[in-house]
């Protein structure tokens, strides 16, 4: 089975993020957690069904090197080929990104393409679905387990409310992963460093056309609410609190 997993990088929220008028500048990037699970599930499927796993790192020109370590991590876990797709884009329209990736992926002959269902910097989490639309393939999201039964894919999907569903999925297909069926495999430091030296990463440039009609006016944090600390003995405090509640028309 020829398997592909998409791996994006997102701002590392442990570090602070600088918000400028027309730019958001993260201090560091980290692998998107859901995509790490997509890679893990791809490797699990390879264990079950045989074949190969290609990991497709998706980055912008200015974050191109930030995906090297996550790609090496995938290699250390057993991925076969690493590809870095460098998007040259000015637009942030995800549909155009999906179109560009689909153009690259369409003739590669993958039976299954895994993506994480969402990323912390993309509420919509729509890459999988949009890729499927662009490539005219079936898409199923919410995936928590993938099996091969009698030569076809059987996918377990989380339905919410604690319910699960099982689906037969014809290949080629795109699967959106919530979490892999086992915890992410641990890679010791020395093994990761060795993988970073040994792993060969192919690079491809993907042109994303600029879309007119949407321009960033500004990025900003919502204003912080004003906090007033009331001080005094309990009776005083109660009186002050009543006044405040009257002021804001709660009482």
């Amino acid at each position: 089975m020829k398997i592909c997993a998409v791996l994006r990088v997102v701002p590392d929220l442990v570090e602070e993020i600088e918000i400028e008028e027309t730019e958001i500048v993260p201090f560091a990037y980290i692998a998107n957690e859901r995509d790490e699970h997509a890679v893990e599930e791809a490797l699990i499927l390879k264990e079950k069904a045989g074949g190969s796993v290609d990991v497709l790192g998706v980055v912008d020109e200015d974050t191109a090197s930030d995906v090297d370590e996550p790609l090496a991590m995938a290699y250390a876990k057993g991925a076969d080929n690493l590809i870095k797709a460098i998007l040259s884009r000015k637009t942030f329209r995800r549909y155009e990104v999906a179109k560009g990736l689909a153009e690259f992926l369409k003739d590669k002959g993958y039976d299954v393409i895994f993506t994480g269902i969402q990323a912390i910097d993309a509420f919509a989490g729509t890459l999988g679905g949009m890729l499927a639309r662009c490539m005219n393939l079936p898409y199923i999201g919410g995936v928590v387990e993938v099996d091969v039964q009698n030569g076809t894919l059987v996918v377990k999907k989380e339905l919410g409310g604690g319910l699960l569903g099982e689906y037969r999925v014809s290949t080629p297909a795109i699967l959106g992963v919530v979490s892999a069926e086992r915890p992410l495999k641990f890679v010791p430091f020395a093994k990761l460093k060795k993988a970073m030296k040994e792993a060969n990463i192919d690079e491809v440039d993907i042109e994303v056309p600029e879309i007119e009609g949407i321009d960033v006016l500004r990025y900003y944090e919502p204003p912080k609410p004003e906090i007033t600390l009331l001080e005094g003995d309990p009776e005083e405090l109660a009186e002050k609190l009543v006044e405040v509640l009257k002021e804001v028309s709660v009482l």
Binding site: V14, P183, F186, V187, P188, F189, K193
Partner: protein, 392 residues
């Protein structure tokens, strides 16, 4: 990995640790298992581990999870008649195999990955490592500005980030400030010293941390390192010299003892009954027994009582050797934590305050107080907190 590869990898690692050949001299006496805080629950005590290794059943040890039932308390190594480095080699090398297989207990895996990425196990920003200095009313000098100092103070990860342990860091820094010590910290340049990564078998990460830390140390001029973190003290004293680092390293109990004459003039009376817990890497591993006792006994008004298991025979808090990240894993095997046993012991000798000297002890024992219902009856304090209280 098949069994052959596992054994090859295991013995290759073992050969890198000095005196590890001694495992061949194991008498199968069982002193280790009888001494182990988890011996009663472990499917493979150190004695059985060596027996299984001789029988090439290494995969059975790993499948049982016994390699994670170790707090690195050093009691087995200390008592072993053949002086086999059980804590420093036999068990960490087994743990390394689990790491290579990719399936250590999840909380521990996260702590190790965070340490590799951020230089601390808490997933905190390295740029906030010195944030505790903003919570004190005196200036804590930074090496990057000061360039030289008599003492380089290492707060280490727990002391820099853990909410309760930061109080200990602040207390010890204030004691140094009040003593007029010429000290400085690395601030955000500091990263994990790494003793727990070593004891967990993450040897590659430990080496990387040592290299980076030594490089940082070499940027500045100082005479010695002082730390209140018992594991940092152990690694800096015993492991870093193997990489060429040769500065004097003191545990804060030694430093307080060294300054005892000065402190005595500053001490005010305190009205407590206290007992002292010999932390594994202060006492048993590094032989510091008298210094903390002398400091405590010098505080006027304190009544000092000993517990039954003291000095070399003290019971571990359960936090060392990665134990602090293995709580839920170990609970599958054992229902009572060693820390719960220990706080009961402290209460049974009539102590109001349990004094400790390892930064892991305080959160471990405070959690145990909640579980045992002793909260309110017994208080846990690091020795530096007690000293600060006496001189304020």
């Amino acid at each position: 990995m098949d069994v052959g590869e596992m054994l090859e990898t295991y013995f290759e690692r073992l050969s890198e640790v000095s005196e590890s050949e001694r495992y061949k001299q194991c008498l199968q006496c069982g002193t280790c298992g009888g001494s182990c805080p988890y011996g009663i629950a472990s499917p493979f005590t150190p004695r059985r581990m060596i027996l299984a290794l001789r029988a090439k059943l290494i995969d059975e040890i790993l499948e049982s999870g016994a390699q994670w039932l170790c707090t690195a308390c050093y009691t087995c190594s200390y008592r072993c008649p053949s002086q086999i480095p059980l804590t420093d080699a036999i068990i960490p090398a087994l743990r390394e195999l689990s790491l290579l297989e990719g399936n250590p207990p999840e909380e521990l895996a996260a702590a190790l990955m965070n340490t590799a990425r951020y230089g601390n196990p808490f997933r905190e920003s390295p740029r906030k490592r010195d944030s505790w200095t903003k919570e004190v009313e005196f200036e804590v000098p930074l090496m990057s500005k000061k360039k030289e100092a008599d003492v380089l103070f290492i707060p280490e990860c727990f002391g820099a980030y853990h909410r309760r342990c930061r109080e200990i860091t602040k207390a010890f820094a204030e004691v140094m400030y009040l003593l007029g010590v010429d000290f400085a910290i690395l601030g955000n340049e500091e990263r994990c010293i790494g003793d727990l990564t070593r004891l967990c078998g993450e040897f590659g990460l430990f080496e990387d941390l040592m290299e980076k830390n030594i490089k940082t140390f070499e940027k500045y001029s100082f005479n010695r390192i002082v730390t209140h973190d018992a594991h940092a003290f152990n690694a800096l004293k015993r492991e870093y010299p193997k990489m060429g680092f040769e500065k004097e390293v003191l545990h804060h109990t030694q430093f307080l003892f060294e300054n005892l004459d000065k402190l005595k003039d500053m001490f005010n009376e305190l009205d407590y009954t206290v007992t002292y817990h010999d932390s594994c890497y202060v006492g048993r591993r590094n032989g510091i027994f008298e210094e903390p006792r002398e400091v405590i006994k010098a505080i006027p008004g304190l009544r000092f009582v000993e517990m039954k298991r003291i000095r070399e025979n003290a019971l571990c808090c359960g936090g060392g050797g990665g134990g602090v990240w293995l709580d839920s894993f170990i609970r599958n095997f054992l229902k009572e934590r060693p820390a719960e046993d220990r706080v009961r012991e402290a209460a049974s000798v009539g102590a109001d305050v349990l004094v400790t000297a390892c930064i892991l002890d305080v959160p471990m024992f405070e959690d145990a107080l909640k579980v045992t219902g002793l909260e309110g009856q017994l208080v846990v304090k690091d020795i530096s907190e007690l000293v600060l209280e006496a001189i304020r």
